[in-house]
């Protein structure tokens, strides 16, 4: 997460030399950690509705098989997300332990995979067309545009980092919540971090290490996708992705949608890479639809089905190994 997903957020800014790597990495790390600790639990709650894994060995097995599923899919060239694999992993645990799967939660989560890139695309198109009109009427000097995009990229790196921490950290540490062994930490007299928040803090720190150690290399891959665009378009893509991640993590945004009699967006971990791709396709369509590689989009959609299925099978097998070979507890009744 710290290496790949974080590089989606600030990779373009660094790749286009708009921001220095050290500045971008520092901002992203701080905000990923803040996002995880402050808002990370919302999405984890939804995952726990699907299945509360209460034994540490089982949580480890599910986590490992989800990561393996993602690794296998990436090897075959399909961009998938741990967000999807983890769902397959949890359902695998449900099946292995004869725990009933909450179908409403499952439907909610699966629909979010489809809705996420669509919403990201819609936001990107609105921002793109709005900004294009604004620049046409405003006639701003190219140097000032550069200045504003630079500041925009700093702010988006912060927003994107927070959004990533808030939305995606549940993928990394969510399955460990019910088997959490941490004790609450008092921060002076003002605030106490709950044990789950401490778990999320640990996740945030781990992601920050990933940002500083591996993301520089991952930026080269981001370059292939995003550096072909102008910095303004790249900024729109990252902003859309960040806004979508916030929408799928925020309970107050869900309440706002309900107040407008609209269906609320569930607080679930969604894929930041797919949000980026949704935004790119959206802008591609707004530009006339030329140059969009539809076979890549279809490959991406196939990942929605195959990655949770592979994770489910792997999770079932790993849990069986854990219980029968290593004699570990898989469920605490």
């Amino acid at each position: 997460m710290g290496a790949n997903d974080a590089s989606n957020i600030f990779g373009t800014a660094v790749g286009t030399k708009m921001l220095r790597f050290s500045v971008a990495a520092l901002i992203a790390s701080i905000f990923i950690t803040l996002g995880s600790v402050i808002s990370g639990q919302n999405t984890a709650d939804t995952l726990n509705t699907l299945g509360s894994i209460n034994a540490l060995p089982a949580a480890f097995a599910v986590s490992l098989s989800s990561a393996l599923a993602v690794f296998l899919m990436l090897k075959s060239g399909i961009s998938v997300s741990i967000s999807q694999a983890i769902v397959g992993g949890i359902v695998g645990w449900n099946l292995y332990t004869d725990n009933p799967t909450d179908m409403t939660a499952l439907t909610k989560i699966c629909s979010s995979w489809v809705i996420c890139p669509i919403i990201s695309g819609i936001i990107a198109v609105c921002l793109y067309l709005g900004l294009k009109k604004l620049l046409h009427y405003n006639k701003m000097h190219i140097l000032w545009q550069d200045w504003i995009v630079r500041i925009g990229m700093i702010l988006t790196t912060a927003l994107g980092g927070y959004a990533l921490g808030a939305n995606n950290m549940a993928n990394v540490v969510g399955v460990f919540i019910d088997s959490c062994i941490f004790t609450p930490i008092k921060l002076g007299n003002f605030y106490t971090l709950s044990s789950v928040q401490v778990l999320f803090l640990l996740g945030g720190i781990a992601a920050s290490v990933g940002v500083f150690t591996y993301s520089k290399r991952a930026i080269k891959n981001v370059g292939k996708n995003l550096l072909a665009f102008s910095p303004i378009v790249a900024w729109i893509v990252i902003l859309s992705q960040s806004l979508v991640l916030i929408m799928f993590s925020s309970s107050s945004f869900a309440a706002f949608l309900t107040s407008l009699h609209l269906p609320p967006l569930p607080a679930v971990p969604v894929s930041s890479t797919q949000a980026v791709l949704g935004a790119i396709v959206g802008i591609g369509l707004a530009k006339g639809g030329k140059g969009i590689k539809w076979n890549l989009v279809l490959k991406l959609m196939s990942g929605w089905v195959t990655s949770p299925l592979i994770a489910l099978v792997l999770s079932y097998i790993t849990l069986s190994f854990m219980e029968n070979v290593f004699r570990q507890t898989i469920i605490i009744p």
């Binding site: 286009t16 030399k17 793109y128 900004l131 006639k139 000097h141 190219i142 140097l143 200045w147 102008s230």
Partner: protein, 219 residues
């Protein structure tokens, strides 16, 4: 952090002024060149022509200084990284036009060509078209930084003026070679006419590159 932002703001404003001044120099040069040729045709290498030629040299030197300053600032301050290469090339191209104006004016001063009066109007027409072409190129290039629609409008004018100047220079050279002048004089006038017309060709080349940069600039 606040100081950093303020200084970035001030540096951006300074660079914006420099780029504007570079364009002002081309317009200034085009006007001065028109005056210089008028004076030359009237008075040949007079004191007045020498003064005008000196002013042209000063504009050329200032333009060189501004170009170097823009290039240095763009790299040192790491501004507009995605368009920096294009802007550097654009600034170089603008400076080449200014240099060519200076070269031609200086050549008139050194070689003192004898241009019979019957060709004066045609040559003045050519100089007017070439200078207008360079002026419109400067307006177009200035618009590149702010407004791509204006850039396209003025680019069209540059193409039309360049085409017109080609026709005028061809007619003038044809008339010169049809005349009873000495071959050496014919060749000398022909060379001068070609060099004046080259300014419009160079302005056209700048616009060709500029339109490519504009495609890169579109969001």
């Amino acid at each position: 952090m606040f100081n950093l932002k303020i200084s970035l703001f001030a540096r951006t404003r300074e660079l914006e002024h420099l780029i504007d001044r570079q364009h002002d120099k081309i317009i200034e040069m085009a006007m001065m060149f028109k005056d210089a040729i008028d004076i030359y045709l009237k008075e040949k290498r007079s004191e007045s022509y020498r003064q005008t030629s000196k002013k042209i040299k000063t504009i050329e030197q200032e333009s060189d200084r501004i170009r170097r300053d823009i290039e240095r600032r763009l790299y040192e301050q790491n501004l507009i990284p995605d368009m920096r290469g294009s802007i550097l090339q654009l600034v170089e191209n603008l400076d080449k036009v200014v240099n060519l104006f200076d070269e031609v004016a200086h050549k008139f001063y050194i070689e003192r060509p004898d241009i019979p009066e019957k060709y004066h109007n045609q040559l003045k027409k050519l100089v007017r078209e070439v200078s207008d072409c360079a002026e419109n190129m400067a307006i177009s290039s200035r618009a590149f930084f702010r407004d791509l629609v204006t850039l396209r409008d003025y680019s069209k004018k540059v193409y039309l003026l360049e085409h017109q100047s080609d026709k005028t220079s061809a007619q003038l050279r044809n008339d010169v070679f049809d005349s009873d002048l000495e071959l050496a004089q014919k060749i000398q006038i022909n060379t001068f006419v070609e060099e004046v017309a080259d300014i419009a060709d160079l302005a056209e080349d700048c616009i060709d590159a500029l339109l490519i940069f504009a495609i890169k600039r579109e969001i």
